[in-house]
Each structure stands twice: as C-alpha cells, then as structure tokens.
Symmetry: C2
Subunit: 201 residues, 2 copies
DNA sequence: GTCTATAGCGGGATAGAC
DNA sequence: GTCTATCCCGCTATAGAC
C-alpha cells in the first residue's frame, strides 16, 4: 500500500514521529506535538497523513521492515553455525531496538493501538520477522545447542530481548553486542558461548 | 500512606480499575468507563479517589504488594534447593500475571504513566520485589545451576516472563506452571529441570 | 455516598487562503 | 505544502442537591 506513498518527506516525518512515540507513548503524543517536532503547524500534518492512526501504521511498517532487513543481512553475512546465527539474530534485534531506539520499539510496544485494519495489513510483516526467529531457533534445537519447545523458546527469547527497552542504559558500559552474547550464553550449554563475530580471529 | 485508606469498598473499586487498565491501557481508560464498571456515575468516583492518577497508584501498589506476598510465601513453602526456589519464583510471577491477570500486569506495563511523586513512593515496593528475584538468581549462580552476570540474568529472566502477557492464551493447553518449568529448563543445565513442586514425590 | 449538571480544557480533524 | 482559524467532541474534575 505504501509502496506508492514513499516520498522522502514522508519518510522523514515518520522517523520523527517514531521518536516521539517512543518517548511519550502513542496515546500521549498529540498531533500538535508531532507537528512541532516536524517544524510545521498541526493542520499541515494532515496533508501527509490521513489521520493519527496512519502515522502509527507508517511507523510500525517502517520499524518492522527495517528490523526484517537488518536481520536478514546479519544472517546472510555471519558464519553458518547455529551459534553464530543465533547470536547474529539477537544482536540485530537488539541493535534495532537500542541503537536506533525508534520505529522497531514502536512496532513492539504500540502494536495494540493499531486499528484492526492496519493490524491485518501489517501482520504479514510481523509474522515474517517472527518466522525468521523461529527458523534460527529451530536450527539451534536441531543442533542440540538448546532444548525445549520451539514455540516457547522463541517467545521467551524474544521477550527477554524486547524487555531490554525498559531497563537498558545507552550511556552504560554494555553494548547491544554484549547483551546478545550474554543472552545466548545463558540459554546454551556452558561451553557453547560464541565469541564476537570474527573480528579478531 | 494507604494503610489508613484501605476500605473494602476502595479495594473492590481498585480491583475493577485494574481489569480495565489491562484491557484498554491507562490512557485510553476514561473515568466514565471506570465509573460504569463500578456501577456508579463518573462524578461519584472522585469521592473515593482524588484523581485518575491516584487510581493508577492504588492499582500498582496493590499489584506489587500482592506479587511480593505471593512470591514470599511460594519461597517459604518450596524445597530449599536453588532449582526449586527458581521454579517457585517463576511460577508465582506467572500466576500473578496470567491467572489474576490484573494489578500486577498494570504495575509492569503502566509504571511509566505514574507521576514522579507516585513513582518515588512506590519504587520501594518494586525494588523489594526485584531484590527477591536477584537473591534467588544469586543462589542459582552460586550453585552453578546457571551462568552469567547477575544483573543481566535477572533482567533477561524477568523480561521473558513479563512478555508472556503479550502472547499467552489462558484458553490454551499450557498452564503458568508449565511455562515456569520450561523457562527454568531453558536456562539451566540440561539435566537440571526440576519437576512439579513435590506433588507426586 | 451517589446523583445531576456543567465548567474548562485540550484533543483530532477540516476549510479555505496563500 | 503550509498557514490560520476554528469546529466539535470527549475528557477530567468540580459544585451542590439529595
């Protein structure tokens, strides 16, 4: 639907909206706040978006597409072992959440604020992203790297990662990379902690 | 502060408020909706609570106190092994989130909507609850049951548990108990999955 | 303790000029 | 594409009768 609608202007406005939605939450962000952040008056906003809902949908679409793309390229360029792929996936996920700290966070935390139509439209994207996770988890299960139920393991891992948004301090000593390694270390057998992705090797 | 204010009436209203806050979110729940759920008119609500903020504070206080109490009694009555204690804690946590499905969920998901004064007042409670978790995690680390950084492990485990609210289906086949066992199994060494708390033993 | 009535505000969205 | 001006609505909270 938005393949046509992808003016650079709209992209930029979407980016700014994502920032505010993360800071304030969707419900508490007013169209006046959005307009001010964009350097225009609130009335002008509706030249770019039909209504406030459409802004949310644009942000979530952007955030999920971006996460999907980053995850795919991370998987494409890492070593082809279950450990490395698990680690690459966790790291990509955390970087879209904690470094960008924008659209993907909105996609996760404001999903419920989407109206049913938008949810229907965007659920494909979300499902594709989650399928990527389940695939990587499957490989790790098949390799005996982790144990348990595929569905539950995926949900637990994603939950642990998603919740980092609530406590992570970007000014602190730990990088997303460190968190990813620590999480993978926690759920895999003791000896199976992968090192950083072949930097010093 | 609310030790004085604990009329049974107010308790009941708080319980109903929690339910709506979970369903709709705090921001989207109007005082009119709250009043209707309570069987009174919106004006009458302010006889029981100074303002909407105070309702949120009451719910969160209730939810955290309840979670704390349930966790403590679960720890007091389980076997005195790191596995059993970890499992008891996870199970208690999930039951307050998924069975009750009310005040504790609000405490976790609407914390940011508290005004600064209420946050200050309630952070003691939240800290006490998290301290309980860190203690149990510490014991498991000391016993070699799990590995990693104490702070990160706690946060990851709590994240995995807290996120269940987003996907758990109460009508489904899995009980909170099952999720707890599966999570503990995932993060502990392969052989160390504890059984249900001494039912068949 | 609950009611009715309403003040007062700020929200989303529109119209039409430029 | 942005502005000004404004409509209309629903929200929180209050006042005073019962």
């Amino acid at each position: 639907m938005n393949v046509v609608n992808e003016s650079p202007r709209r992209k930029e406005l979407t980016r700014l909206a994502a920032q505010l939605f993360v800071q304030e939450g969707f419900d508490r962000t007013t169209v006046r706040m959005l307009a001010q952040e964009m350097g225009i008056k609130s009335g002008s906003l509706f030249h770019h978006f039909r209504d406030k809902q459409e802004i949310l949908a644009a942000v979530i679409e952007e955030g999920t597409e971006n996460a999907l793309q980053i995850a795919r390229s991370a998987l494409a360029s890492c070593d082809n072992t279950p450990q490395a792929r698990l680690h690459a996936m966790a790291r990509a996920h955390l970087e879209t959440l904690l470094t960008d700290r924008n659209a993907h966070v909105v996609a996760l935390y404001e999903w419920r604020r989407l109206d049913p139509d938008a949810r229907d439209h965007l659920s494909h994207l979300r499902d594709a992203y989650e399928a990527l996770w389940e695939q990587v988890i499957d490989e790790a299960l098949a390799a005996g790297l982790i144990q348990g139920d595929r569905f539950l393991v995926s949900r637990f891992v994603m939950g642990a990662l998603n919740w980092t948004v609530r406590w992570y301090d970007p000014e602190g000593p730990r990088k997303p990379e460190d968190l990813a390694r620590e999480l993978i270390g926690m759920i895999t057998s003791p000896r199976a902690v992968p090192a950083a992705p072949s930097t010093i090797v």
